[in-house]
Amino acid sequence: MKGFLKKVDIFDKLKKSLSKTRTGITDRIEQLVSYYKNIDDDFFEELEEILITADVGVQTTLRLVEDIEQEVRAKKIGQSDLVKELLKGKMLDILRKGSDGSWQDKFPKVLLIVGVNGVGKTTTIGKLAKLYKDDGRKVLLAAADTFRAAAIEQLEVWGQRVGAEVIKQSKGSDPGAVVFDAVHASKSRKADVLICDTAGRLHNKKNLMEELKKINRIIDREWPEANKEVLLVLDATTGQNAISQAKTFKEAVDISGIILTKLDGTAKGGIVIGINSELNIPVRMVGTGEGVEDLQPFDAQNFVEALFS
């Protein structure tokens, strides 16, 4: 990875923000390890519960635990603490499968930011813009959430904060038209990065998903040579519905990556593992607060290390 990604101390920040998760899972696994002298059915059941509590999801949990159970039996592992290493490895495998690390430093770049309501799209755009600005890039923002009250104003505040121009029309106007304008403005002003905000939409609303497809098509049509990323913003507090979100958004606009927000809370963020295991969409960044600096690149190795260290 190049560019701005080098500038943040990924490991430290991520570790800090994950400390609660880490303490949670690790403590409970330690407890388990010391409690269970022998590996029996109860042990695996408890292991299941630990993962489920971390929002890893029933299906993924079952698969993980079954895999481990088999391996334990096959390799005749008698110590429960080795199981921890096994589990770590399995989670890492799943996350690695998804995150191929191909977030490319190719410009010009268009980022289309999508997701359900309130997950942190607009805030994340502010943070992303800051990262690119700090990297010396010319950044434009498209205010294509024309639906929610004061969404345009919110993006404008972020634009002022980080020094990025906002392309907008009035509230209620066609978001496709805003993106169209923004693409042409980006071309004529030779912007390096265009980041498009969109209205939050529940993935089961057909019409709104159609609208999103249209926006996506406009970018492809108007600026085919740009390097496009469609990023789904997921709230770490979300439970199993996040899988349904990822699935449906992927079907509609071919998500190229996930940004996982609100990892500064007590939610465990285990859903990422479920999503990677089922859908193979890499997690690109994680949000760890409301400040402009609170965005870090996601790294599978560090993520799992931070969970278990």
């Binding site: 999801g57 309130g118 199993q240």
Partner: protein
């Protein structure tokens, strides 16, 4: 499969119980393993699930099986009853203060939907003849106050805010005085989203609460919340003391297990649910509906009730009304098809409806391609046409066929299917509700 619905799971679990006379410990244990997994899949917190399973199991084991029910139905009856009870039993409302104004404080995590809900609640109370005042106390998120102002404008509800003041307590304080002098009988205070572990911001809420002594502190919770819902709800309740919960974004496809978690750990009632982005998309909470949503069995549960020896007439009439009151338009039709598709096993469900075998609806058996075509056709209709199918003369049909890339025959077929369905809905609504017991075939 990851997205297998609870109803299939339960059916599968209970199938194994069929034919036995009495619920043995093993029967119940087997079934409960599936119920446990299904509840977890619905995001109910695992501790809550554990507790629940224990309770239901002990109630179910050894139970006399009612004459008209199979053992499986007997178990689901117990599961549903316990779930409904846990959800809060009866419907509760906003309490009004005898001393004006009534003060409602909205609190919750970032992005849970407080501002929109504040507006919706204002609108709801205005509809009840109140004169609400909205107060913008989210001084942190960019344009949050602006958002509340725009919502207030749209609803013609007054909004109190102080442009350059960041002291939330003083804004809240001043808003109450403003309300009193301007004859507002309800004050709804919107606050900034915050993490339950953010001590500084939690302290700010406590201070504000002490200052204005709200009648109701409402915790706004996103229905899609996962296992962490218990931690959040418990923290807010411990630190601040909440009086009720508003569950938002229920118009999504989440099963909403968080509702159960929150209720279980706080004991506080869920008072309202948000069901859409429009400002009138706020509904009172119905514990029984939420229970069946989490269970994923909808009105089928009502049918079980109906199948019991002592049929509860009132409930049956309610069900009838529910079905009859559906002003059935093409939009509803599309909606229903989509919902059915999401449920996964259409024929399964249809089999359960009295008098409507899966066969009868063969015309609208769903595969994805068909659904897409149906969608395309309906999307090509004007809004008037969707609401009033009688408008569809041949030139309109021609236009619709062209617009949707289908043929006139396909459009005609859809119209016929729509009308058949409509007739059947009516038939279903009127049949069998007047005391006569229908033959109901259950899959488990």
């Amino acid at each position: 499969m990851a997205f297998e619905g609870l109803s299939e799971k339960l059916s599968r679990a209970f199938k194994r119980l069929t034919g036995k006379g009495k619920l043995s410990e093993k029967d119940v244990k087997d079934a409960m393993r599936e119920v446990r997994m299904a509840l977890l899949e619905a995001d109910v917190n695992f501790l809550v699930v554990k507790d629940f399973i224990k309770k239901v199991s002990s109630r179910a084991v050894g139970q006399e099986i009612m004459e008209s029910l199979t053992p499986g139905q007997q178990v689901i009856k117990v599961v549903n009853e316990e779930l409904t009870q846990l959800m809060g039993g009866t419907l509760s409302k906003i309490s009004f203060s005898p001393k004006l104004p009534t003060i409602i404080m909205m609190v919750g995590l970032q992005g849970s939907g407080k501002t929109t809900t504040a507006g919706k609640l204002g609108n709801y109370l205005k509809g009840q003849g109140k004169n609400p005042l909205l107060v913008g106390c989210d001084v942190y998120r960019p344009a949050a106050v602006e958002q509340l102002k725009q919502i207030g404008d749209k609803l013609s509800i007054a909004v109190y805010y102080e442009k350059d003041n960041k002291d939330v307590k003083s804004i809240a304080d001043a808003s109450i005085k403003y309300a009193v002098s301007h004859n507002h009988d309800v004050v709804i205070i919107d606050t900034a989203g915050r993490l339950h572990i953010d001590e500084v911001l939690m302290e700010e809420l406590e201070e504000t609460k002490r200052a204005v002594q709200p009648t109701e502190v409402l915790l706004v919770v996103d229905a899609m919340t996962g296992q962490d819902a218990v931690t959040v709800a418990q923290s807010f309740n411990d630190k601040l003391g909440i009086d009720g919960v508003v569950l938002t974004k229920l118009d999504g496809d989440t099963r909403g297990g968080a509702a159960l978690s929150v209720k279980a750990v706080t004991g506080k009632p869920i008072k309202f649910v948000g069901v859409g982005e429009k400002l009138d998309d706020l509904e009172p909470f119905h514990p029984d509906r939420m229970a069946s949503r989490i269970l994923g069995m909808g009105d089928i549960l009502s049918l079980i009730e109906k199948a019991q020896a002592n049929i509860d007439e009132k409930k049956a009439r309610e069900l009838e009304k529910k079905i009859r009151s559906q002003q059935f338009t093409f939009e509803d039709f599309l909606d229903q098809l989509q919902q059915l598709k999401n449920m996964g096993s259409l024929s399964h469900i249809l089999d359960m409806l009295p008098g409507i075998g899966g066969k009868k609806l063969k015309g609208i058996q769903l595969d994805d391609k068909q659904l897409l075509r149906v969608e395309a056709i309906i999307n090509s209709m004007t809004i008037e046409e969707r609401q009033n199918p009688n408008l569809l003369n041949s030139s309109r049909k021609k236009r619709i066929a062209a617009g949707s890339g289908t043929s006139i025959q396909q459009v005609n077929r859809l119209i016929k299917q729509f009308q058949d369905t409509k007739r059947m809905m009516k038939q279903f609504g009127s049949m069998d509700m007047k005391g006569k017991k229908g033959k109901i075939k259950f899959p488990f």
